[in-house]
């Protein structure tokens, strides 16, 4: 039993931190607010070169063959930097989705293209009514010649406007099925949904009798339920890692500020009202760390509690990040409420991820189902 990072993992974390400190400064994040694409090609190319884009993929598909602990380390650093770009959408939603359910041909085509920086991907996992249970999917698919036609409305699809391929769950007569859809196909409308985190892009994706070929299906018709559930678990844990990083940044900024900001003739960090709040923030960040890396390990190792650990992770980190980021604004006072101060970049990153891939209550219900059925 060893709950600590290996030397290689520490090395990876440090190199990601160094690269993002250099190339993803707050000025870069802000510059992307108004950028039509919302991310920089230079940094994307750099990430391909550094091997981040293929980190969890098998080596035969151009990946590094690493696990979800390593991917979580990268995403924690991206949260810490409020990285603007489709890394999570491409590598987690698209890449891990293909790894879970894709055919060899699909993996050969897409995973190597993603790893080399040539292709971007995402997944459309939620609809109008925000039910994260894959069984609630209402988008439909019909057989049409050698292919299919898909219709439905997907919302909050991350980075769909720059994706080359979107994983789309839809209901066929056999049950839930999963398809690869080119968002530039006829019948697909991608419209921006602008949230408070301007460094993240969401889209509404409307599919009106979109024709896809016979090779577009992931797995067999009616077999997508477990694949989508497994993907959601990974998305829940990996988004938690990103939230953890954002929360850590908020905590670090608060502690630094509390050391130098003076009121009543003393640094405010000397007052228990502030110090105790910072101590509580650290406790939540440390607990969130344990929840994220335990779940990332459990998913990688195929541990028997991997599913419930994923729900524990997301529900815990959702609330922990809410507390840490919210308290950070309070510790800062007025300056934390200004646009020019960077705190809101990280607070908004965490807030944006909180309701995605299962909100707190969704996951708590899953935890209780697990606990009451396993006894």
């Amino acid at each position: 039993m060893n709950f600590s990072f290996s030397d290689d993992q520490v090395l990876l974390k440090n190199s990601v931190r160094a690269a993002l400190d250099e190339q993803c400064k707050p000025a870069h994040v802000r510059a992307m607010f108004d950028d039509p694409k919302g991310f920089g090609d230079a940094l994307w190319g750099e990430m391909a070169k550094l091997g981040w884009l293929g980190l969890p993929f098998p080596e035969e598909q151009g990946g590094a063959g690493l696990g979800l602990v390593e991917l979580a380390l990268v995403l924690e650093e991206m949260g810490r930097a409020a990285y603007p770009g489709p890394f999570f959408a491409t590598v987690v939603l698209g890449g891990l989705g293909l790894m879970l359910g894709g055919s060899d041909a699909q993996k050969d085509k897409w995973l190597s293209a993603i790893a080399s920086g040539k292709a971007r991907a995402t997944a459309a996992l939620v609809e109008e009514q925000l039910d994260w249970d894959p069984a609630s999917t209402t988008a439909t698919v019909e057989k049409s010649g050698s292919g299919w036609t898909i219709s439905g409305l997907k919302r909050f699809v991350p980075w769909a406007h720059v994706a080359d391929v979107v994983l789309v769950p839809a209901r066929s007569p056999e049950g839930l099925s999963l398809f690869l859809v080119d968002p530039k196909s006829a019948g697909v409308t991608v419209a921006p949904m602008v949230g408070i985190d301007l460094a993240t892009r969401w889209s509404e994706m409307r599919l009106d009798k979109v024709a896809v070929g016979g090779d577009a299906i992931v797995g067999q018709p009616g077999t997508a339920g477990p694949v989508v559930e497994a993907l959601l678990r990974r998305a829940a844990v990996m988004s938690s890692a990103e939230m953890l990083g954002a929360a850590r940044r908020c905590l670090d900024m608060s502690v630094e500020y509390a050391k130098v900001r003076e009121q009543f003739g003393q640094p405010i960090g000397s007052y228990q009202a502030i110090r105790h709040r910072c101590a509580e923030m650290l406790l939540e960040a440390e607990n969130a760390h344990a929840a994220v890396y335990y779940a990332a390990w459990a998913l990688t190792a195929g541990a028997e509690d991997a599913a419930v650990a994923s729900s524990i992770c997301k529900s815990y980190v959702n609330e922990a990040a809410r507390k840490v980021c919210g308290d950070a604004i309070q510790v800062h006072g007025g300056i934390g409420f200004t646009w020019e101060y960077d705190l809101h970049l990280y607070m908004k990153r965490a807030k944006g991820l909180e309701p995605l891939y299962g909100d707190t209550e969704y996951h708590r219900e899953l935890i209780t189902r697990h606990v009451t059925s396993s006894r």
Partner: protein, 405 residues
Amino acid sequence: MDLNYTPEDIAFRKQVRTWLEQNLPKTDIRTLDDRLAWHRKLFGAGYLGMGWPKQYGGGGARPMEQAIVADEMARVNAPAPTNGLGLGIVGPTIVVHGTDAQKRRYLKKILSAEELWCQLYSEPNAGSDLAALRTSAVDEGDHFVVNGQKIWTSAGAIADFGLLLARTDTKVAKHKGISCFLMNMRQPGVDVRPLKQITGSSEFCEVFMTNARVEKADQIGKLGEGWAIAQTTLGYERGGRALARVTNYASQHGKLTEVAKRMRRHGKPLIEDPLVRQKLGRIWAEIEVERYQALRTLTLLERGEHPGAGGSLTKLSYSELEKRYMELALEILGPYGQLTQGAPKDLQLEIDTAVGERGSWAYAYLWSRAGTIYAGSSEIQKNVIGERILGLPKESRADRVGGKA
């Protein structure tokens, strides 16, 4: 990162489990003699003082093996050994800071429970501000003479010896004038009176010392080092007990789930109430996060590192969780949760609490209020975390004015 237990640890766990199946007392432990008999059985099996040096009766075991024994005991709800403070605080203090003579004189008899121990730290006017303690120890040539009053002394009523903090120098800053001693409790100058708590029971005592005698040979460390020694002792037992604590919480959660299936509201079982399901799911997440953190701490201990101020995070986390948990338990149990007598068998809780007394849900609920006060209140832990982990500036305090601290 590999959170699987090693084959050796799995084999060891199996061995402990088998031993417990064969040796766990079949009848309730009621008297101190019962408890002592169980304690000696555990000692005979090598499950006490596992991490202490072998030449003084310890087992020289790894932290993981100690954690596994505690965890397996929790799993079958085994009674705790007696002499908890001797094992948890006094013994480790002697191991780290004691002389060879002190180790040979005391350690073995702590393990065998031939001598029972208490801890003489808090005073009526020195609680969170422990360094303000006023009990004095005056050098009389070949011995010290102790005068003062201690409070919140657990196991004081049965203790043969106490680990004492007393002031030996009133002229220096308050933290620097404190020394640490081992004091014989069985002497005329020591008067022990039970202190009745909100639980109705008396695990704690007040101790009055009037010209009590402490031998020179029973001084621990150098004069004036008492505060530093006390700082290191507070965190000794936190890592090893953490897994076992989580196992206790988990078994209580199982009982609460069963209760929630039987109780009804608006004609439906409580377990079908989404709000109850949310609360049970939330607390389970918190319990599991404690378990993950216990594994992190064990990783440190296995590498021979000490959690240091990180122990304050651990203590703050579990003691505050325990309060939230017990409030939820009493919500689900309704008035059944408050019963101290007459509870139907299937709605009772039989657990070992912090001091090893068996109790009810009501008792466990009331006890949960103690955890955020003893051994450094939550507020003190947050001060430690703020100053020593986050590096926040110290507050300006009246007792620090004039460079006295």
